[in-house]
Structures are given as C-alpha cells and as structure tokens.
Amino acid sequence: MLSKQQIAQRIAQELQDRWYVNLGIGIPTLVANYIPEGIEVEFQSENGLLGMGPFPIEGSEDADLINAGKQTVTVLEGGSLFDSAMSFAMIRGQHVQLTVLGAMEVAQNGDIANWKIPNRMVKGMGGAMDLVASAENIIVAMMHTNKRGESKILKTCSLPLTGVGCVKKVVTNLAVLEIKNGAFYLLERAPGVSVEEIQNVTEGTLIVDGEIPEMQL
C-alpha cells in the first residue's frame, strides 16, 4: 500500500520532458518533489504563476506570492506572473500538457467528482472544471477507498460531476489504472498488494489482462 508520498512518486514517473504541468492541492502538490532525472518540466499554478519553485526560505516568504493552494512559494528564474484570464487561457487552450488532481470518485467512463457533497461539503470547484475539461492528460491521485472502506473507483459517480469522460489514468494507494472502453484496466499493483485485494475494493469494472507487475518506485 502506497503512502501519499509514494503515490506522488509514482505519478512523477508519468512526467515527460518539456511538459507544462498543473498540480492540484494535496497529493498532486507532492509530485514536484520527484521529478525524474534528465527531465525538464515547468509547473503552472492557476492563480497566475508559471515556473513555480519550492517553498521560500524561512523569512523570505511573500504574501504576494502564493500557489493555488494558498501556500507561499517562489518563482524560478525564467518563470512568469500573469492574471487569471491569461492563466486559464493556458489551461483551456491546452498549453498545459498534464493536470494532476485529487478526486472523491472516478467512474469507468472517465467521469470525475471532486468538488461537492450535496448538503454537506460545498467548497467549490476552483479551477478543476476548467482543468479537466481542457487537459489532454489528466492523472487522478487518490485513495482507492474512502474512510469507511468503500470503493471510490466506481461504475458511475454518485456525487455531482466535475467533468465528464475526461480521466484516462488513476494512481491510488493500491494500483495504477487506465480508463478505456468504459472500464478500469489494471496496469500496476502497489508493492505487496495482490490483484484480488484491488479487485475487492474496486466497484467499477476492473480488467485484469495477464500478469500485473508491481510498481517500481
């Protein structure tokens, strides 16, 4: 079973050289810590920052320089700052090659829900609807089950949707899944986790095609 850090680490393997990448709040943010050697990527933060760097050295933090998670950050040399219209022009215009974000539910048709639990939790979608409606590559980083042990990898989303038919890859604490042909294809298992264990907590249709390798971290 992967830790959150390890989920991020596994997702980082999906990065490709020269990609611009938007990382959502939570696990996705951690992906920045695991950029593979020899690969150059730039991180975009939808509040208006390209070339986002690490957290500032203590004492140099600037209230006027935050990321989309409202954390103080830095700008790398060669970065740029811009307004929200320009930022979402980049996103909708598909200039950002990869979006990594969390989810409450993912369905086998590629639907994703991550912004609202009716009558209970209503934080809003932020930039997520723009991101999932636009990105060519979307990776969802999530726990395979919720706190009650119920599957979040579903036949159909029960929560209000963030986007329809857009997710193609999911990395959970248990598995790497690809969504195609209306089903979840099991690509990799977390170290020490069996196919059966994954099957047991996957409500959606799971396709297991041949031997499923363990993730290499």
């Binding site: 208006g48 209230a63 935050i66 209503v122």
Partner: protein, 233 residues
C-alpha cells in the same frame, strides 16, 4: 492626463448602495482590496452581490462582510476557507453561485471587453451547465457563458499613477486586471501612488482608461493563509 485620484476609501466608495453588485479582486487573501472592504463594512451596506473568486476567511477579507450579513449572494469558484460562509450557505441564508475559476475570469474579462457571451468547455455535463445553452464545435461540447454586470469593481494594485495606470505584484495580480476592466466604476487602492511618468508605459498591466477612482491605501495586513517555508540548510 486625466486625473483619477481621490482622497481616501470613503471618497472612493461614494455612490455605493444597498443591493448593488460588486466585483472584488484577489485570490484567497492575496491581492484583496483591504481598504475598500473595510470601508464597505464601515458603510454597512447590505444585500450585496459579490463576485469574487473566494470569500475570505472568517475574520478577514470578505469574511468581514459575511460576519455582518451584508452579502446576499456570492459568485465564486472556491469558498472552502471560510466556515461562516459554509454555515450561511448550507442554512440557506446566503445565496451562492459556484462557477469554474476560468469561467469566472473569462466572464470578468468579457464584461470589460464588450463581449456579451462566449463558449467554454468548463463545466459541460455538470450541474454548472444546467439551464445553459450547450453546443458542439469541432467535435467537442461547450457551454455558453455570459458577461457580468457589476456597478463597482474593487481592485488592489501594487503601484498606480494618478492617471490610473496600474502595476500588480506577484500572484496578487490574479483577478484584479479583469475586474478593473469590468466595473462601471472601478475603484483602485494601491500600495504606492506615484505621479505620471514614473511608470514605464511599456510595462503597465492595466491602462488607466479602465480606472475611475484611485487612492493611496493604508495599513495593509496582507495576511498569509498557508505560510509554507523551508528552513535554511
């Protein structure tokens, strides 16, 4: 040059009334018009519709207006930082229109740019698109979104000159430039008000034509929501 300077927040907010629709710049607590918000609290105007990406935190930013029940309706993309907000919304005291962040930004720009409506992919197939026209272009589905109509826009800039030209700093820029374009009356508070000629015409973020009133702000708190740092090695 046409001079846009007013003395202070009080003068800048002249004409503000109950029931009006406002735009307020900022992302989280970054780049919010602190002085104008204080003055709105002071004026006690109510039944406001506020277009702002976020709703502040309980005791700062738009949270101050929520505390006093001055806001009737919020149009935002993310409001997760404010418990009082969530309470008012779930109890039905507060009307809330949650819309995708890029749609919010583009609707603000459209309002200022004379574009009454545009198509965007964001929210297609979700409840955001309910009741809205959808349409296919090049095999992909889009939602028709409209421009806003706001009486006042409250904007915070870093530097501004007396002609209303603005420069923003860092990610405090965010929604401020589009809202500056969109307000029927755009009120700008700046950290540093300079004379014309001090700003490079080639490096203006918001040309003065969009600004009706500008004033020297004061007592900026610039609160940080998530102070994340690394310790020096």
């Amino acid at each position: 040059m046409i001079n846009k300077v007013v003395k202070n927040a009080k003068e800048a907010l002249e004409g503000v009334e109950n029931g009006m629709t406002f735009m307020l710049g900022g992302f989280g607590l970054c780049g919010i018009p602190e002085n104008s918000i204080s003055e709105l609290v002071h004026l006690g105007v109510t039944d406001l519709t506020c277009i702002s990406n976020n709703a502040g935190v309980d005791d700062f930013g738009l949270g101050l207006l929520l505390q006093k029940r001055q806001i009737k309706k919020m149009i935002s993309s993310y409001v997760g930082e404010n418990d009082e907000f969530e309470r008012q919304m779930l109890s039905g005291e507060l009307e809330v229109d949650l819309i995708p962040q890029g749609t919010l930004a583009e609707r603000c720009r459209a309002s200022g740019a004379g574009i009454p409506a545009f198509y965007t992919p964001a929210g297609y197939g979700t409840e955001v698109a309910e009741g809205k026209e959808t349409r296919e272009f090049n095999g992909k589905m889009y939602v028709l979104e409209r421009a806003f109509d706001a009486q006042f826009a409250f904007v915070k800039a870093w530097k501004g000159d007396t002609a209303g030209n603005l420069i923003f700093k860092g990610t405090a820029r965010n929604f401020n430039p589009m809202m500056a374009m969109a307000g029927k009356i755009t009120v700008v508070e700046v950290e540093e008000l300079v004379t014309v000629g001090e700003l490079d015409p080639n490096q203006i973020h918001t040309p003065g034509i969009f600004v009706q009133r500008i004033f020297q702000g004061k007592d900026y708190e610039k609160r940080i929501e998530q102070r994340t740092v690394q310790t020096k090695e």
